[in-house]
């Protein structure tokens, strides 16, 4: 299979099948990301279609020195942000904080009771994680999803959100600690 840059070139040259290959390659990651952000499968499918349509429309502005996947996820992220702005959700701004000042992690490992996380079966733990994910603030949830569900690197996420790599790492760790705390709260 051709790499992304070759597929983009072919699409711009008029080869429709090249863009269809791009869709088939990225449909699952994009739907997984949007699905976990908005919490509904049907909505995620609709938004994912919009993401690919926007990507096709603005393919001419894609710069090949950047990774195609990060460019696509940036479009997906903006689509989710627009949806939340229209819904006027009273949550954190998804672009909240550019620095590390609000990304505070507990310094030492908390003195926990025996961990619920370790007691649950993997299948049950996954279900609990899905439930707890809905309670995470959007700006942390997004990075967590990209890291652990989409498998993006910290550098890729930093590029998408235009944040320092250190901030991105801190926020992912913060998301995981928050998730862990939520799981421990509801054994």
């Amino acid at each position: 299979m051709d790499d992304d840059k070759t597929l983009v070139k072919k699409t711009l040259a008029g080869e429709k099948s090249a863009f269809e290959m791009i869709i088939q390659k990225y449909q699952q990651p994009v739907v997984n990301y949007i699905g976990r952000m908005v919490g509904e499968r049907e909505l995620a499918l609709d938004f994912s279609q919009e993401v690919f349509i926007k990507a096709y429309s603005s393919l001419g502005s894609y710069q090949s020195q950047f990774t195609f996947s990060t460019w696509l996820f940036k479009i997906a992220s903006n689509t989710v942000i627009d949806y939340w702005r229209k819904k006027k959700l009273p949550t954190f701004s998804i672009d909240q904080g550019r620095g590390d000042d609000d990304d505070s992690l507990p310094f030492q490992v908390p003195d926990d009771k025996p961990s619920t996380v370790r007691k649950l079966e993997l299948r049950e733990l996954r279900q609990e994680i899905e439930r707890a994910l809905r309670k995470l603030p959007p700006h942390l949830k997004e990075l967590f999803i990209w890291r652990h569900i989409n498998g993006l690197s910290y550098e890729e996420m930093a590029e998408i959100k235009d944040l320092p790599v250190g901030t991105v790492k801190n926020r992912v760790f913060q998301a995981k600690e928050m998730l862990r705390a939520l799981l421990e709260e509801n054994p």
């Binding site: 739907v31 976990r36 926990d112 370790r118 760790f173």
Partner: protein, 194 residues
């Protein structure tokens, strides 16, 4: 070494520590049950998060996206198809009319043109009558306004200047109130729709 920080645990699990940083962490873990438990819990959480099920995507997802993109983009072709369809429809209509009326083609054309001409003439007559009606209505309205202004002048001549001032002030107040009421109603109407 004191117990591990949370960020150290995650960096350790993700193999982001250099060998220089890793060695003291591993030494500490060898002797600290609390930190070993903490690392194990976080490792399990990471493992579970990385294996969450995918959302199901319909088999024709990519085809649907492609048809949304390329249906809008194929307008010259769509135009040709529309023209061809229109021509077929016209030909079929003529064919049916020929069969129904029993006339030949030139005769059918002449009948159609005559029918169109008659329709156009009666439409024009209706339009002219409508314009006359509108013109008369406007004329009557202007006459009414003239009569009203004249009557108002006669009436204001009968009342004192102070009374006139009061009347003007009351009229202005009435119009201002009406303006704000109407404006508010439309404004609220917009907000309620949102």
């Amino acid at each position: 070494m004191s117990c591990l920080r949370v960020d150290q645990i995650y960096l350790y699990l993700e193999e982001e520590l250099s060998s220089l940083e890793r060695q003291p962490v591993e030494s500490h873990l060898a002797s600290c049950v609390h930190c070993r438990e903490a690392v194990a819990a976080r490792a399990r959480l990471t493992e579970a998060a990385g294996t969450l099920p995918d959302f199901e995507i319909p088999a024709d997802f990519s085809r649907r996206v492609m048809s949304r993109i390329f249906t809008a983009k194929s307008s010259p072709r769509a135009l040709l198809i529309t023209l061809a369809a229109g021509f077929s429809l016209l030909s079929t209509t003529f064919g049916v009319l020929l069969l129904v009326t029993g006339q030949n083609l030139p005769g059918l054309f002449v009948s159609l043109i005559q029918y169109l001409w008659t329709s156009l003439r009666s439409l024009s007559m209706t339009a002219i009558k409508l314009f006359k009606l509108i013109f008369l209505s406007v004329k009557i309205l202007f006459n009414l306004i003239d009569e009203f202004v004249e009557g108002f002048s006669t009436l204001s001549g009968m009342i004192s200047p102070q009374a006139r001032i009061v009347m003007v002030a009351l009229t202005l107040l009435l119009f201002t109130t009406l303006f704000f009421v109407i404006r508010r109603r439309f404004f609220f109407g917009e907000n309620n729709e949102k």
